[in-house]
Amino acid sequence: MSENYEYILKTEHVSKRFGTLEVLKDISLSVKKGEVICIIGPSGAGKSTFLRSLNQLEKITSGKIFIRDELFLHRENDHTIDRLPREKQQELLLEMGMVFQRFNLFPHKTVLQNVCEAPIVVKKEKKEEAEARARELLDRVGLSDKADEYPSRLSGGQQQRVAIARALAMNPEIMLFDEPTSALDPELVGDVLNVMKELATTGMTMLCVTHEMGFAKEVADRVLFMADGIIAEEGTPGEIFTNPKAERTRNFLNAILEA
């Protein structure tokens, strides 16, 4: 696959409307390979919707999405103007792994089966190879001893780490994290964040919607502050957390830090 691209992921003027409610307004963002971007902001700002529209869980109303500088999708007023052929789209979508707030593990499959399901079914990998790799990944997230358990027997933090391993099993280039620690008990957050930090050091491109400011400060190359469907401010963690320019960012950060 070609490595000669400037941006691994880029959006231009992306908007999303639910009925009359405008959730995303004209969002443009360029992401370089290996960048770790944290998206913060009040609830209802459109953070999750933006993340979900990147891997097509939501259809954008208008705007362009580029993957590896290729125009992946162009829509205007809920009509598709231009897009890659389906197979090519599918192939590029596999480059994006997603981790959900509520884990969404498959409850009827064991931890190991959860991780190797997609490689076997989608990528047609051999069962033995997929399982071997799944065990490696479970080891990486510190859950090799839980391979044969059902998800219901695991804590939230463990489930989320399985979900990360499951996404990694498809060898994605980009990982999307949709508030991965919001549904967890506070004492379980650390384990998940550690896995994510480890992932960031390996050069994975990451987009994280998160409320963990400490994590954003430590790991992010760039922090986006979103409010009311726009990127109100963006910059390095230093810029955003120590010297926010926009009034809204200041208010938000004050509210968070006071809490």
Binding site: N104, F106, K123, M170
Partner: protein
């Protein structure tokens, strides 16, 4: 296995006791020969005479039901005699009158309604076979209809809805008549043609096939609703996770959603099974010999109003057995919860 035994130890002990009791009572019941040796000297003579003659004057009916057996001997000709005996726990009781007569009749009726000694398409065996096949095909058809109904394609969804509306909105008995009489009438075939013969057995088998088809078509409409509500009860996050992993709609359905729906369907499928079990009695209308038809025939030919009591008991026992089976299946599918 060990854990299983421990968990169900009480039930297993009860089942074991029942089985052992049936076996012991079965062994202790008198043999056929013992039963027949209790007949009167006159009857004995006639039986012996029959052995050396081509013309049989004595008709012997022998029924054995696990722990109890029954023999009925009757003669034809000028001097009509009839004798009845019940064997239980090593003893033979004359059953020509009084309570033993009723016991003997019950054994005989139950034996006939169970379809003992007949092939699979008779009596209780027919009822169970028809019900099981109906539920299996009904579920398959119901799954297709449910997928159609929740499909984003308007045409598929409309077709499914129309199908369900039609089959839930008309009586099963008429649907059975349509499949058995109307469809072959319009298309110019007969159900017996399936078996390349026109003898009574082919006619009977053909009627059975028609019944399975009519019942499955009807059950499909009800199962569609069961499957649909089960699928729609699955968390949307499951679809999203599968999609994010690159799975197609078909893969998501067959590997993620439907396996999870099955457990949620089981109580409703169990219910549907019991409904069909009872609806299956409608096959009397096309002369299939199920429990209901046999009991009604006994009522008509022998004037016995008591025959419906063992019929009820047989239905209840089948319902209880399958209730138990569905319960176990549900437990088995719940391992991950």
């Amino acid at each position: 296995m060990k854990a299983f035994c421990k968990k169900y130890s009480r039930q297993l002990i009860i089942i074991a006791i029942i089985i052992v009791a049936i076996i012991i009572l079965g062994i202790l019941k008198p043999s056929r020969e013992t039963l027949l040796s209790h007949t009167s000297p006159e009857m004995q003579k006639m039986i012996e005479a029959d052995e050396n003659s081509t013309r049989k004057r004595v008709t012997v009916t022998y029924n054995s039901l696990f722990i109890i057996n029954y023999a009925s001997l009757s003669t034809s000709g000028a001097n009509v005699m009839s004798e009845h005996y019940v064997g239980f726990l090593g003893k033979v009781y004359p059953a020509d009158e009084g309570p033993m007569k009723v016991v003997g009749q019950m054994v005989n009726y139950t034996y006939r309604m169970l379809g003992t000694g007949e092939n699979l398409m008779h009596g209780a065996k027919l009822t169970i076979l028809l019900t099981t096949l109906t539920v299996l095909f009904g579920l398959l058809l119901g799954t297709v209809l449910a997928l159609g109904k929740i499909s984003k394609k308007k045409v598929l969804s409309k077709i499914s809805s129309a199908y369900i509306f039609f089959f839930r909105g008309t009586p099963l008995l008429i649907q059975l008549f349509v499949v058995y009489f109307t469809v072959p009438g319009i298309f110019g075939f007969a159900w017996r043609d399936l078996f390349n013969s026109s003898d009574a057995e082919a006619v009977y088998k053909g009627a059975f096939v028609a019944a399975v088809i009519a019942f499955a078509l009807n059950s499909g409409a009800y199962c569609a609703e069961i499957v649909r509500s089960a699928i729609q009860s699955i968390d949307k996050g499951q679809f999203e996770a599968a999609k994010a992993l690159g799975m197609s709609y078909g893969q998501t359905m067959t590997r993620i959603v439907i396996p999870q729906s099955i457990r949620r369907m089981i109580p409703n499928v169990s219910n549907e099974f019991i409904m069909i079990l009872k609806d299956a009695s409608l096959v009397f209308a096309i002369s299939l010999m199920d429990i209901t038809t046999i009991s009604k025939n006994i009522m008509t030919s022998e004037g016995s109003y008591l025959v419906f009591i063992p019929a009820l008991v047989i239905y209840l026992v089948i319902t209880a057995l399958f209730g138990f089976v569905f319960n176990k299946i549900e437990k088995k599918f719940s391992v991950y919860e």
